[in-house]
Symmetry: C2
Subunit: 447 residues, 2 copies
Amino acid sequence: MKNIKAGLVGFGTVGSGVVKLLKENQLVIEQRLGIPIILKRVMDLDITTNRGIELGDGVLTDQLDKILDDPEISIVIELIGGIEPAKSIILQAIRNKKHVVTANKALLATHGDAIFKEAEKNKIDIAFEASVGGGIPILRSLREGFAANRIESILGIMNGTTNFILSEMTNREGKFEDILRYAQDRGFAEADPSFDLEGIDIAHKLVIILALAYGVRVNPEDIYTEGISGITLPDIEFAREFGYRIKHLAISRDEGSQIEARIHPTMLPFTHLLSEVDGVYNAFYVQGNAVGTTLFRGEGAGMMPTASAVVGDLVELSRNITRGISLRTPALSYQRKSILNKIIKNINEVITNYYLRFSVVDSPGVLSQISGILGRHNISISSVIQKDQKIEGAVPIVMMTHQAKEKSIQTAVDKINNLDVVLGRTVLIRIEDETLEGKHNQEQVIS
Amino acid sequence: MKNIKAGLVGFGTVGSGVVKLLKENQLVIEQRLGIPIILKRVMDLDITTNRGIELGDGVLTDQLDKILDDPEISIVIELIGGIEPAKSIILQAIRNKKHVVTANKALLATHGDAIFKEAEKNKIDIAFEASVGGGIPILRSLREGFAANRIESILGIMNGTTNFILSEMTNREGKFEDILRYAQDRGFAEADPSFDLEGIDIAHKLVIILALAYGVRVNPEDIYTEGISGITLPDIEFAREFGYRIKHLAISRDEGSQIEARIHPTMLPFTHLLSEVDGVYNAFYVQGNAVGTTLFRGEGAGMMPTASAVVGDLVELSRNITRGISLRTPALSYQRKSILNKIIKNINEVITNYYLRFSVVDSPGVLSQISGILGRHNISISSVIQKDQKIEGAVPIVMMTHQAKEKSIQTAVDKINNLDVVLGRTVLIRIEDETLEGKHNQEQVIS
C-alpha cells in the first residue's frame, strides 16, 4: 500500500485544524506510519468562505458522494457534529466499507448502539478519541493502557466552557453572567451555551466513558445532570473558607451491582488534584484496581488539540488498513456480549457529604429549627458558619454535613425551605472528599 | 484461537504482581480481549520460597526451556531485569517466534538496538510499557495518542526513589541520609540505592522516551546525568523562599538539529504542575505542537502498577496474535529508516537560569568580588539573598541568574571557588522556569 486516502466531511474549526495538522506534520506522521495519509476530499456545504487554509485543486467539494462513493477513500472523517445528517453519513460510510473517525459525542451517546452494530456487521472500525477530552488520550488509555484493570472510579472535568467559567468566577471573583459574556467574547463559550452550561455535553461524554471504563450501556438521560448556572460568588467564597473549590464534575464509580454516575457542581478540597485544573483544561482522575490513581490533564477542546486526537485516530486506523485487519480492539473496549445494561444508582440513593447554604431571617432560634430538622433526618453536621453580612437581604447559615443519603437531604431541605424563617431556596452543593475517596480506596481487592 | 498462553521468567515482586493480576482480573481481561490469557509456566531459579501466591500444579519451574521451547507459549514475559541472562533469554524467545513483554529499561537502553533488530527480522513484537513510568500509559500515548504530533518537549519525574527522598526532605525537613534510611526501611529505596540516586535509572528511561518521542537513538552515557546526593536542606529552604521546589527532573527538548536531554536536580516554580508531584509518584509533562501541554501522573513503580502495565501489554500482544499480525506499530514509534543518531546538545551549550549558593567568609567586599566575576562572564543576576546565619561555618550568598550559558557559569564558578574568601564548593542548581517554558511555547509552528 502506497498511501492511505481519507475524506473529511465538515470544514469547520476542527476540520480546518485537521487539514492544517496533516499538512504541517506530514513528515513526522509518515516517519511513524511508514506511508503518507492523503486527504483526497474535503466536503462542506459552504465552499466559498475563505478559511485561510490552502487545499489542492479539486479537493474541496460540496458533494458528499465524492467521498462516500470514492473507492480510493478508505477513511471518512465526520466533523459536522449533531445527530443528522451526521448519523446517515456515518452509516452510509460504514456500508460503503469505509472506516470512520468522528468527534461526535452527541451522536455516539444517543445512537452509538446502531452505529457500532452496523460497523461490526461490516467489519469497519469507528475511532472517536476526539469525542472526549480533546487531545488527552483518555479513551485509548482506558481501552489499552488500563486493559488489565478493573476501573473503580473516574472523576472528570470534561467541559472547557463550564470549567473556564467556574475558574474565572473563583479567581477573578466575577459574577456568572459577566464571566459568561467574557467567555463568549473570547470564543470559550458558544452563542447558545445551554448545552454546555447544563451539563448535557458532559453527559454525552460520560456515556462514552462509562462504556469504555465499566462496560455498561447507558442513556445520557439516565445520568443525573445538574448545570452550573446556580453557582454564585458567595458559595465560591464559603467553599474557599472551608478549603474547597467548586468544579463541574462528572463522577462515576463501579459499585458492583450498580454504577454511580452523576454530573453536578462539586466541592473539591484544595488538596485534590482536580481542584486546581483551571481554565479550558480538562482532566481525568482515574482509579484502577491495579494501577492505583492516575491523572490525565490537557486541553479538552479547541482546534489543534482536537485535531491531534482526530489525526491520531487516522494513524491508528491506517495501521489496521495496511495490515488488512479491522475490529482488532472492540471500539467500546468490551466485547459486545460482555456489555451490560447495568443500573445507574438513583441519585436519591447516593451517599456523600453536603454543603448547605440557608438564607434566613435574622432572629433567634432559626439555627435550632434548621438543625432540628436535619437531626430528625439523621443528617449530622460537621461544621457551621454563620456571618453577619447579609446576602440579598437574608442572613446566610452555611453547614457542611457528614455523609448522608441524598434522599434524606432533599426531604430535610424541602421542609427547611418551607419554614417561615427561611427566605430563599437553600443552596445544596455535593462534596467529593479525600476521606470519601479514601474509603473507596480501601475497597480495592488488590493493593 | 481459544486462548493465549504466556510464560513468565522471573517470579520476583513484579512477577508475583503479574500472577496475582491475571488471576484477580481474569474476568474483566477476558471481557475485553474476548479470550482468556493463561499463564502456563512461571520460571524462577528459586522454586522453594513461598511467595504467598498459588500457582497451578506444574506451573512453577526452574527450567527455562519449559517456556522457551514450548510451542504452545506465544508470549514470554521477562521480569528478571539486568543485562544477562535477560538479553540472551529475550533473543532466544524471539528466535523461537515468541513475542516478548519486558520491564527491563536497563537492557533496552543499552542493547535495545540488537533486540529490536532481531525482533523485526523474526516479525516479533516487543512490548515494554512497564519500563517507564510504572502504570502510567506514557509510552503508548507517545506512540499512538500523540502520533500526529511533533513532540516539542517532555519534562519527567521518572524515579520514585529520588522523588520520594526529595519530597520527604522538603516536606519533613529531614536530611538526605536520614530520609534515605527511612526510605530503605519502607522499601522505597534499594539496599544499594546508587543506581537510583545517581540518575542512572532515569537515564535508561530517558533513552526510551527520546526514541519514542523524537525518533532518536541515544546512549545513556551521552546524557548529562547528575544525582541528588548533593542536595542539602539549606538549598531546599532557599528554593522555597524564592518560590521553587527541587525535583530530580529529566528534561528533553527537540531543538531541530539537536536534542536537549539532561537529568539533574532542578528548581521548579510552585506554579509548575510537576513541582507538587510528591512521594513515589511519577509524572510526565509533555508538549506536542498540536495537542499543547499535557500531564500524565501516577504511581511510577511498585508491584501492582507495574503489573498493570505488563498485563496491559499482554492484552495488546494478544490482540495481534489472534489477528495473525505483528509489527503493526513500530516498537520505537518511528519506522527504523527514520530513526536518527541525532546529536545531544552538549551540557556546556545549555542555556537556562541558575541558582548559585556561595559559601564565603564574613568580610566586606566578597559580594563585589563574586558579582564581578559573574559580570565578566556575561552572567546577569536576577536576585540575591545574603543572610546572617552561618551554614557549616560559612556565610551563604544565594543568587538567581537570568538565562546564561552553562559553560560561562561553570567557568565563572570555578574562578569563584578559587577565591580566598570562598570557603566551600559553590552549589549550582539549574532552574526550569515557566518563562523559559513560555519561550519554548512560542516556537510552536501550530498554535
